[in-house]
Symmetry: C2
Subunit: 319 residues, 2 copies
């Protein structure tokens, strides 16, 4: 069995994480439960200070840095939530964060990174080019480069899995959106360690299925990446998270962008929380799996709330 | 000095409230602080399970009921957050809640009350008629009638004031939206008991100024009530909350609906939280008071997040 990262590592990460963050709510929603004809809880990672789960990993990572490492700053590339996580966490530790974003990145997220004190560099036309820029700058300045799936990040984000198990010990199914994969991996490590019968289901968009294809075929497969759901928009899979998923993820569902949009509208209306598309993909997946979920206790991970105002507007236009 | 409700009552209410609810976050926002040229924190009462502060009062109220009272059910009238609070709290205590709403009430809020298990009765054309219906039904069925400003509710909602003082002991100014007045009264009792120098500022809409006029003139004055901000839409003031406000509220600002709408758009975009109009009124007020707030530590109470999807849509149309 997979044992490179264990539940003990995640519990230990919690000792850092809870110095800066509070557990997020796990809430039961009757209207969603009625729609799915089962009992549904949402894990509100959108209640984190960056409105996304990734900040747990950022905080844990910063806690592991030496004073020497801190003094040179950190470098990363991101189109969204990861960059905000690193910016926020670095500020808490007095570390300079340099976030490389592709030209045309979501302006709201860029503004938020800057508000957390990060130096934001526009570099290249897509994530891969921005990533190359960050790596180069890190080497030049002796700074630390942070990849989106570094093991230390998985350990930190796994703490929301501990909270789910604490609040709902008899959960049957946890559905998690898969971007780079740190969230689903942390959750799976925790849940399977406590009860191997808990089903872990990953979700991606049909319009960006690289992680799902790689999981299904047990090898890394790149794929088109044109989903509107930023948080699950991964065209190039990652080996370290795939290795965990191959062993610990029970199913991996694809949902169309159209289904995501329709699910997102319902979630925002029912919960009165801002929910981003990647998170809504879990509810779209649950609707698709409705008959299989009947009678089960189901948790949907609301990974974040950073929907763009443009997309929010188009969700509710004509209401 | 006012002493009918004391900070001790509120601390004691906390012993009930925290059995069911968790403290909500108080968050500093750099972008909002830059706009106001001071330091601004938002108290995220929208993170409560009903997405509004009132649930604290509902929980405390239910905790005080005898088994006899519980068995007859509770009756109240509401157009919104108060009804959801009573519905949620009653369910937690196994009590039947009967909520009377005027015809044409916000369908999202009605659906939410029903999802919390309440019996919702459409009665009359406005709040006052619905209230009469609830009172009559309570008497007929020997149930308890709950008014929106009952002292027991003020004690419960005051617990968010305790949290503000705990998280930011050197706060200078707290700006609170005033609907029926329980929020501002609970906050003022707590803050003034700990440090009388803390300024408590109430806010209402120019389009519904009854509470502000009553505060200003030290007597109950009714006024027009046509604001879009449901949470501060009070046309008839309440004596028990006015008595507290006369003594403990330092200033009471009116802002136009147009200013509220513009403030709301900024808050949702910057915080990625759904924020309702009444809460946005506090930010509109802060913008108005900008020069007076300079250099101060300012808390804006985000009383709730229950904006209608129709209003949300029109906020961001054309973005």
């Amino acid at each position: 069995m997979y044992d490179k990262i264990t539940i003990k590592d995640i519990i230990k990460a919690g000792q850092d994480v809870y110095k800066f963050l509070k557990p997020t709510p796990l809430r039961h929603y009757q209207i969603l439960s009625d729609m799915l004809e089962t009992d549904v809880w949402l894990k509100h990672e959108n209640h984190n200070p960056t409105c996304a789960f990734k900040v747990r990993g950022g905080i844990h990572l910063m806690s592991t840095l030496t004073e020497e490492q801190k003094s040179h700053g950190v470098y990363t590339a991101s189109t969204g939530n990861h960059g905000q996580s690193i910016a926020f966490s670095a500020r808490e530790f007095g570390v300079k964060a340099n976030v490389f974003v592709p030209k045309g990145a979501n302006p709201g997220k860029v503004e938020s990174m800057r508000a957390f004190g990060a130096n934001v560099e526009f570099y290249g036309d897509d994530f891969d080019q921005a990533r190359a820029g960050a790596l180069q700058a890190a080497q030049k300045n002796k700074g630390m480069f942070i990849g989106p799936t570094d093991d230390v990040l998985i350990k930190g984000v796994g703490t929301y899995g501990l909270e789910i198990m604490n609040d709902l010990p008899d959960v049957d199914v946890i559905i998690v959106p898969v971007g780079a994969g740190s969230g689903v991996c942390g959750t799976a490590i925790v849940a399977k360690s406590i009860n191997p019968k808990i089903k872990i289901i990953g979700v991606q968009s049909t319009q960006a299925p690289a992680q799902q294809l790689s999981w299904k075929n047990s090898k890394l497969i790149e794929a088109e990446n044109r989903t509107i759901a930023e948080g699950v928009a991964t065209g190039v899979p990652f080996m370290n998270t795939q290795e965990i998923m191959w062993e610990l993820v029970d199913d991996f569902v694809l949902v169309d962008d159209e289904e995501i949009i329709s699910a997102n509208k319902i979630l925002i209306e029912i919960t009165h929380n801002l929910i981003e598309e990647a998170s809504a993909a879990t509810f779209a997946a649950a609707l698709k799996l409705k008959s299989a979920l009947k009678g089960k206790k189901v948790v949907l991970v609301m990974s974040g709330g950073n929907i763009s105002m443009k997309n929010l507007s188009s969700l509710f236009s004509g209401v």
